[in-house]
Each structure stands twice: as C-alpha cells, then as structure tokens.
Symmetry: C2
Subunit: 310 residues, 2 copies
C-alpha cells in the first residue's frame, strides 16, 4: 500500500447549472481528490482538512467507507464548514461565485497524522501556499513526489509565498491562463520551462475541455479530454483530475515520465465521470468496469497509424 496524503478543503457546495440546482451538498478539493484516488488499487489515502460541527456524519462515513483515512480531518466544535455557492453560465465553462464563507477554513492549521508523515506521495490541493508549505514541512521522510495545485488568486495576493513553496514541489498543476500568469510567457512550452526553473520537475497544464499537457524538460505529453455530449456540472472536475493523477502515481509506485503520462489519462478519465452528475454523485457510483471501458475510449480517441513516406 502506498500512502497518499491529501490536503485541501472539505466543504458544502450549492451549485446552479442550466440543468438544475442543488441544496448544500458535499464538496471541496480534498473530498474529490480523496474519492478519485480511492478508485485506484493499493493506495492508502488520508485527508488532512478542517470542517465545522455542521459537517454531517453521513459525509464522514462516505469517506471512511472508501477507506479514506480521516484522522487528519479536524472537526472544530461550534465551527461552521467552508461553504461555496456558484452558478454556471450556459457555456458551462464560466461561472459566477455567489457565496464564499471561509468559516473554519480561515484558521486552518493542517496536521498530518503521525502515521502518514512517511507517505510516499503528497497531494496539496488548492489552498494558501503557506498552508501547503506547512504540510511539506511536517513530512518526517522526504516524499517520492509532492504535487501542488494552485490558482491565479494566490499569484495575485501571495506570489512570493507561492514561489517559496514551489521550491519544494515536484509537480505543479495549473490551468493555461495561470501558467501564463505565473511565467509571464504566452507560449505554454516556454511557460513550462520558466516554471521548471521555479522548482517543479513536472509541469501539468490543465486546459479543461481541451485536455491537459505534461512537461518534463524537453518531454511533452498531451492527454485529451473526452468529448462529451453533455456536461451536467463541472464542479470538482479539476480536483478529480488531480486525485486520479496522484492516485495512479501512488498505485504505480514510481515517478517516471511514463507513469505520469498514464496518471494524466487516469485523471482525465475520472474527471469525465464527475461532470456527468451534480457534485460527487457520479464519482461515488462509478464502477471499475466503467472506468476500464472509458480508459479504452481514451486510447481509441488518440490512437492512429503513421504511414511514413520515403
């Protein structure tokens, strides 16, 4: 079993899309990452997060039932759980945030359980860079791979802290606009080179419906997104991608470029399920057979023969 430490939010989300709306449902980066990683074999995931007293036992059970360790999930007495509410536009690619209540997240001080400070893989979900750094520093043994997800918000208000944290990170996952912002370069190839210099050996650039790129030095790999007839709710797709990615690496037990390529496909594959229903619903129900079938679809989507002319 490979231990995988996952740091991020556990949250309530209320989501509105052109197809309907939800009450407060289970959400948060660590939730999606953990649930996605739990779909892999021989992975022992542990969530490090914080919630309030209002976080239902059923949600805790849902995580535990998937063999996700929650010893590092702090429950603050009298506290309220982080709450996000958003509304997607008709194109499903853009959204307005309606409500953000940080609540217990405001003073989140993550504590990695002692039994996980020797984890092989650390997946840092999108959070303040200082909080992400504090998790790296708690590891008793240098992990095989530290993966960091972040976003433009931290580049705007905490760029120096983010750069400090990046020095200790092996893989960064960001979207194309964020890669451009962080590097000051428009070309993603050049942006990746600039970001390599900041610390991460691997740069993963997420392009949503346009797939994802993996850069390592001069090596580049492209994972497509599966063209879908209907995207029902994009919430959690990026975190599911990160969870499938980190989970596959933990399962494989090595951190080669070849392994990371397949990890990118696993991440894209699991994310393609998440968007089919509201919240975590589809990710909860997806079966091994469905995942395997869709992995083959990814293979077919890009497989071709070259007939070289001489």
């Amino acid at each position: 079993m490979s231990k995988l430490v996952i740091v991020g939010t556990c949250a309530f989300d209320a989501i509105e899309t052109p197809f309907g709306k939800t009450e407060k449902i289970l959400g948060g980066a660590a939730t999606y990452i953990g649930m996605a990683a739990s779909k892999l074999n021989n992975v022992d995931p542990a969530i490090v997060s914080v919630v309030g007293e209002d976080f239902p036992d059923t949600y805790l059970s849902l995580l535990k039932d998937r063999d996700i360790n929650i010893d590092g999930l702090e429950i603050v007495s009298g506290g309220k759980t982080f709450f996000w509410s958003g509304k997607y536009h008709n194109d499903m690619n853009t959204r307005d945030t309606l409500v953000t209540e940080l609540n217990t997240l405001e003073n989140f001080n993550p504590k990695v359980p002692a039994s996980y400070t020797d984890a092989e893989i650390v997946m840092l979900g999108n959070l303040q860079p200082q909080v992400q750094l504090s998790v790296i520093e708690q590891m008793a043994k240098k992990p095989k791979l530290v993966i960091l997800d972040t976003m433009n918000f931290w580049m705007d208000i905490a760029l120096d802290e983010l750069k400090e944290t990046l020095k200790k990170v092996d893989v960064i996952t960001i979207n194309d606009e964020e890669a451009r912002q962080l590097s000051g370069e428009y070309s993603l190839v050049t942006a990746a080179k600039v970001i390599h210099e900041m610390g991460p050996k691997y740069v993963v650039i997420k392009k949503g419906e346009h797939g994802a790129l993996l850069f390592e030095g001069n090596n580049v790999f492209f994972a497509p997104a599966l063209p879908l007839a209907e995207v029902f709710d994009p919430t959690g797709a990026g975190d599911t991608f990160a969870g499938g990615f980190a989970g596959y690496i933990a399962q494989a037990g090595d951190t080669s470029f070849e392994t990371l390529k397949t990890a990118l496909i696993y991440g894209s594959c699991l994310a393609s399920f998440t968007v089919e229903k509201f919240g975590t619903e589809r990710l909860e129900s997806v079966t091994r057979e469905e995942i395997n079938k869709r992995l083959h679809q990814f293979k077919q989507l890009v497989q071709f023969d070259i007939h070289i002319n001489n």
Copy 2:
C-alpha cells in the same frame, strides 16, 4: 496517381505579427492547400482559382515546380489579384483584417479542367457556397470524397446556399465556434450529429492550438496540435491542415475512418511547419525527413500505456 481538385483563392497577403511584417507575399487557400498536398506521394493536385495580371510568373512557377497543375488557374487580363492584409494581436490567436480587396475574385467562375473532372478527391477551400457547389456539379464522375471548408461569414449571409451545398459534401471542416453556429448546439459532440444530418458523413472540427476532432457517427478521433515554443505567423495554418488532410486521403486511396484519422495527423503536422515562418516560406522548404520526424513527435505526444485494474 490520385487526382485531387483544389478550389480556392490564390492571393496576395500582407501580414503583420508581433515579430515583424511583410510586403505583399504569396497567399490564398488554394496555394496553401496545393503546396501541402504536394508533399504527399502519388498525388496529382490541380488548382482551380483566379488571379489578375499582376500575379507574378515566379509564383506560377513555384506551383508548377511542385507538380501542381494550374490549367484551371484563370489569369484575368487587366485584372488584379485578390488581396488580404491582416495584423495579429500579441496572443497570435486573434487578428484584425486591415484590407480585403476581392478584385478578380468577385466574379470568380471556376472551371475544372476536363482532364480533372474524374478526380477522386475534391477539396473545396473557403469560398461562396454557390461557387463551391458549381465545382461539384462539374465533376463528370462522382468523386470518392468531397471535402468542404467554410466559415462563419457564409453562415451569416448565405446559410441556405451553404446547406444546399452541404447535401453533396462528404467531409466538412470548420472551427469550433462555426460548428456551434451551424448546428445551434454548444456541445461539439451534439453539434457534429446535427451537422451529419445536413449531409457530411465526416465532420472535422478545428480547434487551432487545441487540435482537431474527427466525427463519423459515434466514432470520434482527436488529433492534437503540436505544442510550439513560438508561433511566428498563423496565416495559412488552417488551409495547410486541409491540404495535408486531403493530400493524405488521395495518397491512401481510400476513405475509411482509419485513413481520415491519419490524414488529420498529416494535416496537423504540416500546419505546425507553416506557422514557423511568414506565409508559405516554411512549407516551401520543409523536407520529407523533417515531416517524418515531426510525425513521430505527434505519435509520442499522445502515446501512453494503460494498466487496467481488475
């Protein structure tokens, strides 16, 4: 030898990019399509187009030297050649048109040379749908494959004519926004199904730097664009793509989904050269060895192993 009829503009372009600007240089859809197709083996391409007396002999020689038949390239005495001038923005993805002078193109009445009315493949570059239709109607023998490229402009001002023409077309190539406009559907999967119903068995959706999709019924294939450190001049990339695509199909001699998949890769591969220099310069100089090397890069870009969990 497979005959390939190419209809489209031969033009003067004047281009400005963040990297520099050109005087009037050789341009036009038929030019790029023809030059790209001429890179394939056993293909006999013929350009059907119109230019003015100002079109230099050196440009005519440049086409003839590549074994592109120009019997159908009308030279209007006293006429002037179609001229386009544009300026690209810093992101290289958007541009302003500075000048469009239709000149001889305004009364373009294409005539397919008698010796090419039995061509196997017809590639209709972006033009008025009625003009495209008149070419299909001149074919003495039903071609194996009629490919049509078009754009939003014709959907705006000649939608009915476009729909009439599409009934006689096997493959349509358009970009993602145009696919959405033509179908009224946001999802590209659904858009492709709607466009199938209009006539084309195959729908190719071009996404520029995000690659291209090929749909045939429930089959889908994705060809990536090669991530490039520097795009010098995007002019002609879409037409080069079309030319590599049509040329490969002509070379292969069949119109199966498998053949069209590889054709998409050839198109993407050749387009990746065109953008490296101004106008047709790079496409003119590219060697067989360079093309083959880059085809391998495309293969590596998307190749991965799946390790299925049971």
